[in-house]
């Protein structure tokens, strides 16, 4: 995790939260107002009931505030009500209806605020992440970023829409209930409220203590899930080595650990819930007793007694939940921190005055050295070469020789520090070329192509939205994938990826080639992009490509000599250094690494040919 620096866009969690809340705040404000109204109306009912019990059913003289007395007088006085208790009942129903209406608006406003907040968080995160430098993805774990974008977003939504709301509502409720109780009788009010801090304190104490245990249980579950995941993905290995017993024991053991953990937790929780019942029970008893004693002493009417009992009951649950809500709210801080880390990462930016030059010129690497962040040894050391416009260049190199890195640098996926050399296209330093322009003009087929969870048609046409079906098919034909696609029952409408069918490595590569060809870029790069394709298809594609690439500058990376040999020029890389350079023939004559590779790859042929000659 990065240290907070002064350039951070969001310096505090609060700042980030307010940014995310933009547009949602008015709704949360409204929902708080309605919440207050709900509580207020809820407080009125017991008042009416108390009036009903004492003055309508009982014989007490009505003790009402001034305006209500006038209203009562106009309605025919207390005697009229005593004849028609239905009117009071209707009043209760009416107040209930008003409370219900406010409740509806409270929930609707709250939900709107919550959804606005969530949508904004998601959109902002996604939009930001796509523009982060490629290196950032290497420095952060993918699973972790996704986790942040999903569960941390969810946590913050819950924090604002549920926990914060609940906290506000509970405070309003406590204030109102205590106020109304105090208005009736201070002693009973005290009997009830004295328990509130005890209950909240107990619940806080408990939740703070078990909080860590919950996290531990989550970790144990993660471990169990990973064991299952690895077993399922590695099922062939498990079977081929006959290791079912080991796998079963490993799973069962972790399963026991995880289960035992939860059983322990549930025991604690059960104890907490049960003991909470005792506290609540005592609170109710205290109110009941005080009330009853005061009634007997004539300090309280039965109606008021019933009202006090109702107010006390209203408090019970919200107060009991408060401890948990407060503890869970502390999680939001961590989640905000985690999102702030993402939002503070700096997006890729064009240099000031970035240009959009034509990209048809020579590509020139001069004295390029490069090391990945955190890696002690350089991938590339002082590499210089020129690829003349419109020519085809092959690059040969072993695993880890730095071939792909060269291309990533050309795409400006990584920043090349000025002291580490320079890459130019048509004489323009790529560091000064607008990123979107640079990438729009370079087509690359990656070694491990990535297909989107969309249809094949959309995948091929993704970078050219105006591409017609005709063009898509043409590209697919050149990439030798058209026939395969036609053999699928849904043809070009076949979905691939996570929610569709799985393509083989070779089929993916060919789809990616079509995806690049349709863009008709002046620079085309094939990064070992036929490695998963068999020789026959490889040949077919290469022949088709010859005509399709036209005037483009083509870079072929491979360790198959057959792929490289027709190139105008071949570069040989070893351990990040350019060790040989020349045409196929020149390189063969050199007797170096290229020759060695050639000999290895053609060994069988000569032997076979020899046998043939003998026979």
């Amino acid at each position: 995790m990065s240290n907070p620096s002064n350039n951070d866009r969001f310096k505090t969690n609060r700042q980030l939260l307010l940014y995310f809340l933009h547009g949602a705040l008015p709704f949360f404000g409204l929902s708080a107002c309605f919440a207050a109204l709900v509580s207020l109306f809820d407080m009125v009912s017991p008042k009416i009931i108390s009036f009903m019990v004492d003055s309508v059913i009982g014989e007490e003289a009505p003790a009402l505030p001034g305006p209500l007395t006038a209203l009562l007088a106009r309605a025919g006085g207390i005697e009229a009500l005593r004849q028609q208790p239905l009117r009071v009942a209707i009043l209760v129903a009416a107040v209930g209806a008003l409370a219900a209406l406010c409740r509806y608006f409270f929930r609707a406003c709250n939900a709107r605020g919550a959804e606005k907040l969530t949508r904004r968080m998601r959109d902002e995160l996604f939009g930001h992440i796509l523009y982060l430098p490629y290196a950032w993805f290497g420095e952060n774990s993918i699973g972790d970023i996704i986790q942040r974008c999903t569960s941390d977003v969810e946590t913050i939504k819950r924090f604002v829409a549920q926990q914060l709301t609940m906290l506000v509502r509970t405070i309003i409720l406590i204030v109102l209930a205590v106020g109304f109780m105090a208005g009736i009788n201070t002693k009973v009010m005290l009997a009830s409220t004295l328990f509130i801090p005890v209950i909240i304190g107990y619940s806080l104490f408990f939740h703070v203590r078990v909080g860590a245990a919950f996290e531990k249980a989550d970790i144990e579950e993660g471990k169990l899930s990973t064991i299952a995941q690895e077993n399922l993905t590695g099922v062939r290995v498990v079977r081929a080595f006959g290791r079912e017993i080991y796998e079963r024991e490993r799973f069962a053991k972790q399963n026991d650990v995880y289960t035992g953990f939860w059983v322990h937790l549930i025991r604690l929780l059960s104890f907490f819930w049960a003991s909470g019942d005792v506290l609540t029970g005592m609170q109710n008893l205290a109110v009941l007793l005080t009330g009853a004693v005061l009634c007997v002493r004539n300090e309280l009417t039965p109606g008021n007694y019933i009202a006090l009992v109702s107010y006390n009951l209203m408090l019970t649950w919200p107060v009991r939940m408060l401890g948990r809500v407060i503890t869970e709210m502390s999680k939001a801080g961590i989640s905000l921190e985690r999102l702030r880390y993402i939002m503070n990462a700096e997006e890729e930016k064009d240099r000031e005055g970035a240009e959009e030059p034509p990209m048809t010129g020579d590509i020139c690497f001069s004295h390029v050295s490069f090391a990945y962040k955190g890696s002690p040894s350089p991938v590339l050391t002082d590499v210089s070469f020129t690829i003349p416009a419109g020519k085809t260049v092959g690059i040969l190199g072993g695993t880890g020789s730095g071939k792909s890195t060269l291309m990533y640098l050309l795409e400006h996926l990584y920043d090349l520090p000025p002291e580490n050399g320079k890459i130019t296209v048509g004489g323009h330093d790529i560091a000064g070329i607008r990123l979107s322009h640079l990438r729009r003009n370079i087509g690359i087929v990656l070694q491990e192509p990535f297909l989107f969870s969309r249809t094949l048609k959309e995948n091929i046409g993704i970078a050219r939205e105006d591409g017609s079906m005709e063009e898509i098919r043409r590209a697919a034909v050149i990439a030798s994938i058209d026939e395969t696609i036609a053999s699928f029952s849904d043809g070009y409408e076949t979905s691939v990826g996570e929610r569709g069918m799985t393509l083989s490595g070779g089929q993916k590569q060919r789809t990616a080639i079509a995806q690049m060809l349709i863009r008709q870029t002046p620079i085309m790069i094939f990064d070992d992009s036929l490695s998963a394709v068999d020789a026959e298809t490889d040949l077919r594609i290469r022949q088709a490509l010859k005509s399709a690439t036209g005037d483009a500058t083509v870079i072929l990376i491979s360790h198959r000599i057959t792929t490289l040999m027709q190139a105008d020029q071949i570069l040989v890389l070893e351990n990040g250094r350019l060790i040989e350079q020349g045409t196929h023939r020149e390189l063969l004559a050199k007797n170096g690494l290229y020759r060695k590779n050639y000999d290895l790859q053609t060994a069988g042929l000569e032997e076979g040919g020899g046998d043939d000659a003998e026979g």
Partner: protein, 603 residues
């Protein structure tokens, strides 16, 4: 999405299938039901204390009997506390134990299923059965069930008390319950549909993130950031509108329920008021009715909510029980298990040595999910120690023979003989214990390099491990890593490159010292020079072992004792390299294409 999820049907037929899994805990469950019911019944009694207080103390203007009153109340609270502690703890235990048992059961069962099952179901799908369906079922047989008990007995308790203290008023109130229930059911069904859609969109959004992050390089080089963001906003927008509509319904629902509660309350006030005024009812009784009026709809709502959750879980129950019911299409016979043991209880004392003669006798084969025969009346004899290479285009079916050899599938007709005996006469575990298999897509387990290499030979010493690594030229992989054999490889080996993973998995297979060695395009992601080194290693390693090598780089297999050429799933040529070259058939064509002959202009 399967159709079954689309329509909301009210059905419970999955539940009886769960009985066997809860049977071990039936005592605990019965006790917890009894205690839970008792506890809720006690809850229904509390308003009676109020009634007593109002009618006896307040109405009678006396404090006599206060001590027994308090003692009774406290005793009830404490008694209930003990009951609640015991029943919730038991409930949690039942949940966790059933979860655990189901996870173990399904995991173990999966270890016995054949590859046709794995080919037809994605890992994500199977994983969800093991990890989340089990949780839902455990929840169902514990908390969900207790919800019925708690709310049901509370409702019953209220009902009984109301009928006992004033049957007339009770009947009037009860008339409202069915109306409320119908309304609630309607809303629940509506909400169930919404929730399903929300979950669906939610998983789409998670998928979008996954794609945006794992595909970041592709997105950048294609320059499609704007399009991706636009499409993402479509999804979050849809989520927004769906969630708002859902919230609207659920707000309406909650408001209506509370409004109904106040209707019941006003009914009680009106009728009860009249009765009390006429002296037919006492204030205490009226207060009991008022308490119930406010509380009786909540359990009804809870029951309906629980029911709707139970409907939703039906799909999961079905999927889970279906998983357990799947039978492996490669299963050992009872006689074989009797003698050699099953996958979990091998009887190694009865295991014979595996010598290494392999014979396919008149084998015909069709994949269980395919309808075309890929092998017809195929015969092949491979004496111990011979080296067979299988070549052909990608997707031509090169792995079929190996799948049969490893008994990942059984021949549809004919038989596979190992050391002259039908493979089915010995257990799968016996065979697998003698096979070393290196896959094209190597799979490593999270843990250290040492853990991984020991996978096939748990007691291997470091010396043996290093020797195996040297044999496949994998020392350089180790040199690159900081902690040597103790270096972590990451989940699925993510900290290593594909080539490195292939080297390690190769070493792992060698270390197990198998009688039969299968290399399935094991070196495709390794550069030529390293591959050559491995080729040399292979020729040493396969010495004395029967081996099968699948390759698409033909230069690697020219020395094989026998080469089988596969095209369109069928074996069309067989022979040694020189013979096949002389035949001038498909093999020669493949071979020449791979090499340089067609490019005469280069010379």
């Amino acid at each position: 999405m399967p159709k079954a999820e689309e329509n909301v049907k009210l059905r419970f037929f999955g539940i009886p299938k769960l009985l066997p899994y809860v049977r071990p805990y039936r005592r605990m469950i019965l006790l917890m039901i009894a205690l839970g019911g008792l506890s809720s019944a006690i809850d229904a009694l509390y308003p009676l204390f109020n009634r007593y207080a109002l009618d006896h103390f307040v109405g009678g203007r006396t404090l006599t009997g206060l001590i027994p009153f308090v003692a009774g109340y406290v005793a009830l609270v404490l008694g209930q506390t003990v009951i609640n502690y015991k029943s919730t703890y038991d409930c949690g235990k039942v949940e966790m134990y059933v979860n655990r048992d189901l996870r173990n059961l399904s995991f173990d069962h999966l270890q016995t299923l054949s590859f046709s099952y794995y080919n037809q179901n994605s890992v994500g799908y199977i994983h969800a059965r093991v990890m989340s369906d089990t949780g839902l079922i455990g929840d169902l047989v514990s908390w969900r069930m207790m919800n019925f008990i708690w709310n049901g007995s509370y409702l019953l308790g209220i009902l009984v008390v109301m009928l006992l203290i004033d049957a007339g008023l009770a009947m009037r109130i009860l008339l409202l319950v069915p109306v409320a229930a119908v309304l609630m059911t309607w809303f629940q069904k509506k909400l169930l549909g919404f929730n399903r859609r929300i979950r669906e969109i939610n998983s789409r959004i998670t998928g979008d993130y996954n794609e945006g992050i794992t595909g970041s390089r592709t997105i950048k080089v294609l320059g499609v950031e704007k399009k991706m963001i636009r499409d993402f906003k479509d999804d979050t927008g849809e989520m927004y509108h769906t969630s708002i509509r859902e919230a609207h319904f659920s707000a309406l629902f909650i408001s209506l329920v509370t409004m109904m509660s106040s209707l019941v309350l006003s009914l009680v006030l009106w009728r009860g008021g009249l009765l009390t005024r006429e002296g037919l009812m006492r204030i205490g009784t009226l207060s009991v009715f008022m308490s119930y009026a406010l509380e009786m709809l909540e359990p009804v709502q809870n029951i309906i909510e629980t029911l709707s959750a139970v409907f939703a879980i039906q799909v999961n129950i079905e999927r889970f029980t279906k998983l357990l019911a799947v039978e492996s299409d490669v299963a050992d016979t009872p006689e074989v298990i009797e003698r050699y043991g099953d996958s979990f209880h091998p009887r190694k004392e009865n295991w014979e040595e595996l010598y290494g003669d392999i014979e396919f006798r008149d084998v015909s084969f069709r994949y269980p999910d395919g309808d075309e025969f890929v092998l017809r009346h195929f015969d092949l004899t491979v004496p111990k120690g011979r080296n067979v290479a299988i070549v052909g285009e990608t997707g031509a079916g090169k792995s079929t023979l190996v799948n049969l050899l490893c008994r990942f599938y059984e021949p549809t007709e004919g038989k596979l003989l190992i050391d002259g005996r039908d493979a089915r006469e010995r257990s799968q575990l016996w065979l697998h214990s003698h096979i070393g298999y290196v896959l094209q897509t190597p799979h490593l387990f999270s843990g250290t390099v040492r853990d991984n290499l020991r996978y096939g030979k748990p007691d291997a010493t470091d010396e043996e491990i290093l020797q195996a690594l040297r044999l496949v030229s994998a020392e350089q992989v180790l040199n690159r890593m900081e902690d040597g054999l103790d270096s972590e490889v990451g989940e699925g080996g993510e900290l290593l490159s594909t080539g490195e993973k292939q080297l390690l998995s190769f070493a792992r297979a060698i270390l197990a010292d198998p009688r039969i060695l299968v290399l399935d395009e094991a070196t495709s992601s390794i550069d030529t020079v390293t591959e050559k080194a491995i080729q040399n290693a292979i020729s040493t390693v396969i010495e004395g072992r029967t081996s099968f090598i699948i390759a698409h780089r033909l230069s690697t297999i020219v020395n094989a004792d026998l080469i089988l050429v596969v095209r369109d799933g069928k074996i069309i040529e067989r022979g040694k390299h020189a013979e096949l070259m002389r035949q001038k058939g498909y093999y020669r064509q493949l071979y020449e294409q791979q090499l340089i002959i067609e490019n005469e202009e280069a010379f």
